[in-house]
Symmetry: C2
């Protein structure tokens, strides 16, 4: 559905004004603040039409209009201009991340923080997820007192370890041998591969040290699995308390409870991950979750070697500054892709 030019202008004015003031906007305001060169009465007629078409609504008679979900949708899809971050802003972002960029975790966390600070909404990031990670190395490190440290490393750099007891009868040499066998047989394989065939083979070879081997396998499995349900970083949760639409404690509670659940965050981030462009906006009632009906989310993905490996998201009120949100997401995901290349790329 396409609107004539003046209607577009009116809708745009309403949305912009409402986004910045959070108050219903009336015909007089528009004709004064935005230069359309027509009288309030004309605007009123246009508004009446726009309301009929479903793009705006009235909280009650004798109040101004506010955009409906559909109105926002039209705005995001057709009216909004893509803004690019100013050089200054970009600089400060880059500096903010670089200064602390030791490992992937910190970079993600830092990026996240910056997003929530700039936007004043809540933001979240998932770490790089690889479809299947391979076992890179497994090592049994003997400590004193019959304790053994099991270390598992995957090819995407995840490291997990666990302390375990072993009978004193097992020597360092035994451990070395186990390590060797495990590595020789399983290195480079995915979890599925490992599960499918090879275990029996090793069992045979290592039958003497069955329980140690079991423990090691346990950790390997856990580690290789862990990637898929990776950590989600969250930042700026309390920012929603600044939004006038969340002056009600009940709402705050509902939303904060949702944000506490990783499952929910994951759902938000992975919802429409397959879209071509990358940046995706979900407005108000478009959200599947009941508790997000008054919120909008902006999600995007970042890449390594052209493959999508993680996502970034913002949650704010439906009355969100979409222009800003989108432009920041755009910049940040590009930047993240860049940074990730340094860590993982070939």
């Amino acid at each position: 559905m396409t609107l004539d030019e003046r209607k577009q202008k009116v809708l745009l004015a309403i949305i912009k004004d409402y986004i910045s003031t959070a108050e219903p906007v009336g015909s007089r305001t528009i004709s004064k603040k935005y230069e359309l060169g027509v009288s309030p009465a004309t605007i009123r007629n246009e508004m009446s039409d726009l309301e009929e078409l479903g793009y705006i609504e009235q909280p009650h008679t004798s109040a101004g209009r506010i955009p409906s979900d559909l109105g926002y949708r039209y705005y995001v899809d057709c009216l909004m201009k893509k803004k690019v971050l100013s050089n200054e802003e970009a600089e400060s972002v880059i500096k903010g991340v670089r200064s602390k960029a030791r490992d992937v975790g910190t970079v993600l966390q830092q990026t996240n923080k910056i997003i929530s600070n700039i936007t004043n909404y809540t933001s979240m990031v998932t770490g790089p997820q690889f479809r299947k990670s391979n076992l890179r190395h497994c090592q049994l490190v003997p400590l004193d007192n019959g304790k053994v440290l099991v270390v598992v490393v995957t090819d995407n750099g995840l490291i997990q370890n666990r302390l375990m007891d072993v009978p004193q009868t097992i020597t360092d040499l035994d451990l070395q041998k186990i390590s060797q066998v495990v590595n020789a047989k399983l290195q480079g394989l995915t979890l599925e591969d490992i599960k499918l065939t090879l275990i029996k083979e090793i069992y045979f070879e290592l039958s003497k040290h069955k329980n140690i081997f079991d423990a090691a396998m346990d950790l390997i499995q856990e580690t290789l699995n862990l990637n898929q349900q990776d950590k989600i970083y969250l930042s700026g949760t309390l920012n929603i308390l600044n939004q006038p639409e969340f002056r009600d404690i009940g709402r705050v509670k509902t939303l904060l409870s949702l944000l506490e659940q990783d499952k929910v965050l994951k759902e938000i981030l992975s919802d429409k991950v397959n879209l071509e462009n990358g940046i995706n906006v979900t407005i108000g009632g478009e959200n599947k979750l009941e508790g997000l009906k008054d919120c909008s989310t902006v999600t995007a993905t970042y890449q390594i070697d052209g493959k999508i490996v993680g996502s970034v998201g913002i949650i704010g009120p439906t009355r969100m500054d979409y222009e800003k949100a989108v432009s920041i997401m755009d910049f940040m995901t590009q930047y993240l892709s860049q940074m990730m290349k340094d860590f993982y790329g070939r």
Copy 2:
């Protein structure tokens, strides 16, 4: 200061009633609900006295009375009976933790969760802190592509690791040798010991592999340091939203912002850690932090081999159910001490 028996009863009644209803309590209520055998008028006189003494106060004329900080203090110190957890409750706690008790972190987290669930307040726990930890083991694990994994284990079970690049010219054997030397020289030592003397000695021995050794030392240092500024687990932050005294968004924000800062939590937990008994109650204005003036905290410590190594804390409104809070803290710290013995004790 000691009060006559009837005044005590009246004060107790006011506090109990106020804790459970959050409404100022009047003389009539007391004479009806609590069996003191006297008329409202008499109660009024007593209340007037109690107010003069500073134990209760009136929000405004013609309202009932509410306990003052001093009143709560008297209650906690003199009037409150120590309750012991019922067998049922204790059972369910134990079950709740046991079922997931794989490592120390999970136990602490689980304990924490249970505390906040039972009390409906916010709770926090610090992990075991040892004054100085010793290096137990350091291992360089060669991976492919010239990557090396450095693993450091301390005697209290903390494990850290880091991936690093080394020139291809270094062989597995070199690495083994470095590991050996480092372990031989540094095992069992604290950070101070290591810093002071031995480094030069090793430098000499390993002069060929200076940069690898440097990296390893870096991680060792970091790991041995890490204990002191250990992780703090937090649970049930949103519970405060259930409290009527936090119906105001501004307050919620202040408090939640405080709880986001580890520094603040640490301060709360370590404030009076040296008291004999272990369980410590800080009421309203007794808190040093301005933002906690309307809150009370209950903190306690747990032990390993008789030494205090960590603390547990609850934060709630001043109108807190101190009896419940204290009894749960009592049980939980004992239980934690018990559990820790399994992990670390001799």
